[in-house]
Symmetry: C2
Subunit: 123 residues, 2 copies
């Protein structure tokens, strides 16, 4: 059985409230504003639990490492800016679902990463 601790609630809240993917450090520092004693290992452990139960999704960023975001948002893509290195959420889906993969492959899910310059960096 899982128990509802103040640390666990804080971590869940921080992830739910964010509008973009966050790294462990960011979750930790935001979480500490709620529960001061919050520990990094606790963040890792709880994020892993949330991943396993499908509440949270993992994004592997080429330079920022592993980021996490709630899985409860609508399907969307991610945009990595080469200039400022930030990750933005991009609403909607631009993938043609039909005949994507060769015969025999069953596509259950997909992820799209866009790379380029964000409005601030392209000017």
């Amino acid at each position: 059985m899982t128990r509802q601790t103040s640390q666990r609630s804080a971590i869940e809240q921080v992830i739910q409230d964010s509008d973009r993917p966050m790294g462990i450090d960011e979750i930790l520092s935001k979480g500490k504003e709620i529960v001061e004693s919050l520990n990094q290992a606790t963040v890792y452990r709880n994020v892993k639990l949330l991943l396993d139960c499908g509440t949270v999704r993992q994004i592997l960023h080429p330079t920022q490492g592993t980021l996490y975001e709630t899985a409860e948002k609508d399907h969307h893509h991610h945009f990595h800016c080469h200039g400022c290195n930030k990750v933005y959420d991009v609403p909607g889906c631009a993938l043609k679902e039909d005949g994507i993969a060769p015969k025999g492959f069953v596509v259950e899910d997909h992820e799209v990463f866009l790379y380029g310059k964000c409005p601030e960096c392209s000017g």
Copy 2:
């Protein structure tokens, strides 16, 4: 100036000859078949050089870590099988390029990951 060593050639050859992304360990062990003394640090150093000059592309796999493949192939997507955890190359591109990103964002490149079951694992 860069010098052409037997180690460097071996690493380049191993990456060029593969039909799917490989991890450092795999590049190392295949490379050792060509140059027995090949060292892991040398693989890391040369792969990084190849990344910087754009010859090689990096793929971040959720469970296998960082994989590398030649950038000289035609544009294609990757398919991660949940069953056997292998990565397959998927030819072609199923992304609609127009109006993918919000106004102001300049899309320079993109990557598509498909997840599901490969023919062997979906049976």
